[in-house]
C-alpha cells in the first residue's frame, strides 16, 4: 500500500461519504422535527436515479402515476378532515385542491415532457420535482395522523413505508439496474489520481447543499420555525407554528435531498430498485454518530463512514458491510456513556 493507493481510496471514500453526509443530514432533520426515524430516506435516492433513467428512455416513469394516486388519496383525506372540522364544503374542497395542486402540475408536465426527450438537465429537474413532491404526501398519508405517537410507533410505520416503497420500486422500474450517463464527462489526472467530473459534482453539490441548509435554518423565518418545532413541538405550536406544515416541509426537504443524492450517485454505480436501502442505512449510521441531533457531527461521521468503507473493502472486501455496521456499536456505547441526553416533546 503506497501513497497513490491511499489517495485513490481517500477520494473514493470521500465521494461516497459526501452522499452519505447528505442522507445523514436528511435523517437528522426529519428526526429532530418529527421524531420519525426515516428508514425510507434511501428509497428517494433510488427513485431519483431510476426516475431519471426512465425519463432517458422517453417513457413516463411509474413514479409519476404513483404521485398522482398518492395526491388524490391525500386530497380526499384533507377534504374529509376539513369537512369534519368546519362542516364547510367550499373550504373542504379548497383544502383538497391545495394538496392536489403541486403534484398534479408536476405530473402533467412530466407526462407532457417524457416523450419529447428534452436535454438531460431538464429531465433531471423534472425528476427532482417528481421525487420531492413525494415527501409531503408520504408524511400526509403515513405519519400525519400519528404525529403524536411514540418514536417506536413511528419507527414501525417507517419500516412499513420502506417495504411499500421498495415493492412499488420493483413494480415501476423492474428488477434490473440502470446506470445514468455522467453529467460531466471530464477527467483530470493528478499524478496517480484520476479525478472524474462526476466526483467533483458530487462533492461540490453536497457542500453547496450543506451550506444552503445551514443558511436556511440560521437566517430564514421558515427555517427558524422548523428549528423551534425541533426544540419543542408543543411550545412551537403555542407560538402558532403548525406542526403538520412543519412535518410536510421537512419531508419535502428530505425527499429533495434524496432525489439530488440519487442524481449524484446514478452515474457512478448501477442503481437497482432496492439499492437505496443500504445507501440510506449508511446515512443513518452517520446520523447516529451525530446522536440524531447534531448536523456537523453527522456530516463528519458520514465522511468517516465513507472512508472506512473504502479502506475496509480494500483490506477485507468480504467483510466490508460488517466493518461499517459494527462501527455503530462502539459509537452507541460511547454516546450512552458520555451523553448527557435529554428529550423534550
Amino acid at each position: 500500500m503506497d501513497l497513490s493507493i491511499v489517495s485513490i481510496l481517500m477520494l473514493d471514500g470521500l465521494t461516497n461519504g459526501a452522499v452519505y453526509a447528505l442522507l445523514g443530514l436528511a435523517t437528522v432533520l426529519v428526526f429532530t422535527v418529527t421524531r420519525v426515524i426515516f428508514i425510507p430516506q434511501g428509497e428517494f435516492v433510488a427513485y431519483g436515479a431510476l426516475t431519471l433513467a426512465i425519463f432517458q428512455t422517453g417513457k413516463v416513469p411509474g413514479t409519476v402515476w404513483l404521485l398522482l394516486l398518492m395526491a388524490v388519496l391525500a386530497a380526499v383525506m384533507d377534504v374529509r378532515l376539513t369537512w369534519q372540522h368546519t362542516r364547510n364544503a367550499p373550504k373542504a374542497l379548497k383544502a383538497g385542491a391545495l394538496t392536489l395542486l403541486v403534484p398534479a402540475v408536476v405530473s402533467a408536465i412530466s407526462i407532457w415532457a417524457a416523450p419529447r426527450q428534452f436535454s438531460m438537465l431538464v429531465q433531471a429537474l423534472l425528476t427532482v420535482g417528481v421525487v420531492t413532491s413525494f415527501g409531503p404526501l408520504v408524511y400526509r398519508l403515513a405519519y400525519q395522523s400519528l404525529a403524536d405517537a411514540s418514536s417506536l410507533t413511528l419507527l414501525i410505520v417507517s419500516v412499513g413505508v420502506h417495504f411499500a416503497m421498495t415493492g412499488l420500486g420493483l413494480l415501476f422500474f423492474g428488477a434490473e439496474g440502470f446506470r445514468n450517463p455522467s453529467f460531466w464527462d471530464a477527467r483530470f489526472n493528478l499524478g496517480p489520481l484520476a479525478l472524474t467530473g462526476q466526483a467533483i459534482i458530487i462533492i461540490g453539490v453536497s457542500l453547496a447543499l450543506i451550506v444552503l441548509l445551514w443558511q436556511f435554518f440560521e437566517h430564514t423565518l421558515y427555517g427558524k420555525a422548523l428549528r423551534a418545532t425541533a426544540v419543542n413541538r408543543l411550545g412551537a405550536r403555542l407560538m402558532g407554528i403548525s406542526s403538520h406544515a412543519a412535518g410536510q416541509a421537512t419531508f419535502a426537504m428530505a425527499a429533495l435531498i434524496g432525489a439530488l443524492s440519487g442524481l449524484l450517485i446514478g452515474p457512478t454505480t448501477t442503481v437497482f430498485y432496492d439499492s437505496g436501502f443500504l445507501i440510506g442505512l449508511k446515512g443513518f449510521v452517520a446520523a447516529v454518530i451525530g446522536g440524531l441531533h447534531s448536523y456537523p457531527v453527522a456530516a463528519v461521521g458520514a465522511l468517516f463512514v465513507g472512508l472506512v468503507e473504502a479502506f475496509g473493502s480494500f483490506w477485507a472486501s468480504a467483510f466490508k458491510e460488517v466493518i461499517v455496521f459494527t462501527l455503530i456499536l462502539p459509537i452507541l456505547v460511547w454516546r450512552s456513556v458520555a451523553g448527557g441526553h435529554s428529550e423534550e416533546h
Binding site: 434490473e176 466490508k320 458491510e321
Partner: protein, 377 residues
C-alpha cells in the same frame, strides 16, 4: 345443523382431494421480488407459457414468490409438500434459497428440479435435480479458453454469497488442474455503490485475466471499475451475466468481455450439428414472441427445459402410480434417474443415480461481446 356443516366440510375435502388426485401439481418457488428478481421474473414469465397438460394429465401450477429470502423459500416449500401435496417442486433460481428448499424436498420425499446450480453435501441431493449446468461444467469451458489464450494468473471478483463462493471453489479446482493460478480474491455485493477499492487491489496484483462472478446488470459495475483502473488484460464473466443487461448497463466498457453461457441464449449462432440447436431455437422463438425481441435469457430456458424433462419422465412414472401420491413422487424421481439422455435448450442432460447435475463438459459455450452483441468464440 352441525351435521350439515360436517357434511359440507367432508364434501369440500373430497372435492379438493378429487382434483388433487387427477392433476399433476407443480409448486414453483422463485424470487419474483428481492435482489435475485432479475433472475426470477424471467422464469415466472416462462411459467406463464407452459402447456396446460402433460401426457394427458392436467397441470396445476402454483407459483409463489420467495423474495430471495431463504426463510421464505423454506416456508413455501413446506406449504407445497404439506398443504398442496405437489408432485414436483421447481426452483428456486436463487442459489441461497434453492439449498434450504432441497432440504424440504429430501425430508418429504418430493422431487425438486432446482433452477440454480445448488451445491449440496454428498447424499443430500437424493431428491434434487439441477436444471442449470454446474459451475464446474461452465468453469471447464472457461478454463479451456483461458488455456488457449495462454493465461497463467487470474484475479477473482465475486458476490459475497453462495453463487460467488461455489464459483470460486469450482473455478480454482479446474484452473489448478490446468496450471492457472488464482492470485487475488475480492468480494462485493450487488448493492455496493463502489468497488473501486477491490478493483484497485486486483489490478495491483496484475493478473493475466479477471473473473467477475455476478448476475445480470449487477455484473456491469465491477467490470467498469476494473476497466476504469486501466486494466488491459482479459475480463471473464459467468453464465449468470449472460443477458443483454450486461451490455445495456456496461456499454462500451464491456466490449471484448468473455462470457460463458449455455447454448439457449445463442440459438441462431449454434452450428447445425449442435444437438440443442432445434430445441433452443424453439424456446427462443416462443419466449421472444411473448416478451419481445432480445428478451431471451438463461433462466427462462431452465423453466422451459423443466417441462421437457417432465414430458419425458411423467409417462414413465404414470405406469407405476397416480399423481398426488407418494408412490408417484418416488416413481417420478426414479424416472429422472433412468430416463437417459434428454436434449434440452441448454444442452444434453443425462441424470444418473450418482449424478444429479447431468450436463457434460462440452455444454458451456464461450461468447465474446463484440459491438454490443454476442459472438461465439
Amino acid at each position: 345443523m352441525k351435521f350439515t356443516k360436517t357434511l359440507i366440510t367432508a364434501a369440500a375435502a373430497l372435492a379438493i382431494c378429487g382434483t388433487a388426485l387427477a392433476d399433476i401439481t407443480i409448486g414453483v418457488v422463485a424470487p419474483l421480488t428481492g435482489p435475485a428478481s432479475g433472475l426470477g421474473i424471467p422464469t415466472g414469465n416462462q411459467v406463464k407459457l407452459w402447456p396446460t397438460s402433460i401426457a394427458g394429465e392436467k397441470l396445476k401450477v402454483i407459483v409463489l414468490d420467495d423474495a430471495t429470502d431463504p426463510t421464505n423459500g423454506t416456508k413455501i416449500a413446506k406449504r407445497f409438500v404439506t398443504e398442496d401435496k405437489v408432485d414436483v417442486i421447481m426452483g428456486s433460481v436463487a442459489t441461497p434459497v434453492a439449498i434450504p428448499v432441497a432440504a424440504v424436498a429430501e425430508e418429504s420425499g418430493t422431487p425438486q428440479l432446482s433452477w440454480s446450480p445448488a451445491v449440496l453435501p454428498p447424499g443430500k441431493d437424493k431428491w434434487t435435480f439441477r436444471m442449470p449446468q454446474s459451475n464446474a461444467v461452465m468453469a471447464h469451458a472457461m478454463v479451456g479458453l483461458m488455456k488457449k489464450q495462454g493465461i497463467k494468473t487470474v484475479g477473482f471478483l465475486g458476490y459475497t454469497d453462495a453463487y460467488g463462493e461455489s464459483w470460486l471453489k469450482d473455478f480454482t479446482a479446474e484452473a489448478e488442474k490446468n496450471g492457472i493460478k488464482v492470485i487475488a480474491t475480492e468480494r462485493f455485493a450487488r448493492s455496493d455503490t463502489s468497488v473501486t477499492a477491490q478493483a484497485l487491489k486486483l489490478t495491483s496484483a496484475n493478473p493475466d485475466a479477471m473473473l467477475i462472478v455476478a448476475s445480470g446488470s449487477g455484473a456491469a459495475m465491477p467490470h467498469m471499475a476494473i476497466v476504469d483502473r486501466g486494466y488491459k488484460g482479459k475480463i471473464y464473466q459467468t453464465h449468470a451475466a449472460a443477458s443483454r443487461d450486461l451490455m445495456r448497463v456496461g456499454g462500451k466498457a464491456v466490449e471484448g468481455a468473455f462470457v460463458v453461457s449455455g447454448p439457449a441464449v445463442i440459438a441462431e449462432q449454434l452450428p447445425d450439428s449442435h444437438p440443442s440447436k432445434k430445441v433452443a431455437t424453439e424456446f427462443v422463438v416462443q419466449y421472444e414472441k411473448a416478451y419481445g425481441p432480445g428478451s431471451r435469457n438463461q433462466f427462462a430456458g431452465h423453466a422451459y427445459d423443466s417441462i421437457l424433462v417432465l414430458e419425458k419422465a411423467v409417462p414413465i412414472a404414470l405406469k407405476k402410480a397416480k399423481p398426488g401420491t407418494p408412490e408417484f413422487r418416488a416413481a417420478l424421481r426414479d424416472a429422472f434417474e433412468t430416463m437417459g439422455r434428454t436434449t434440452l435448450s441448454h444442452g444434453v442432460l443425462n441424470w444418473t443415480k450418482d449424478d444429479h447435475w447431468g450436463y457434460t463438459n462440452e455444454t458451456g459455450v464461450m461468447l465474446k461481446v463484440v459491438n454490443g452483441d454476442w459472438k461465439v468464440e
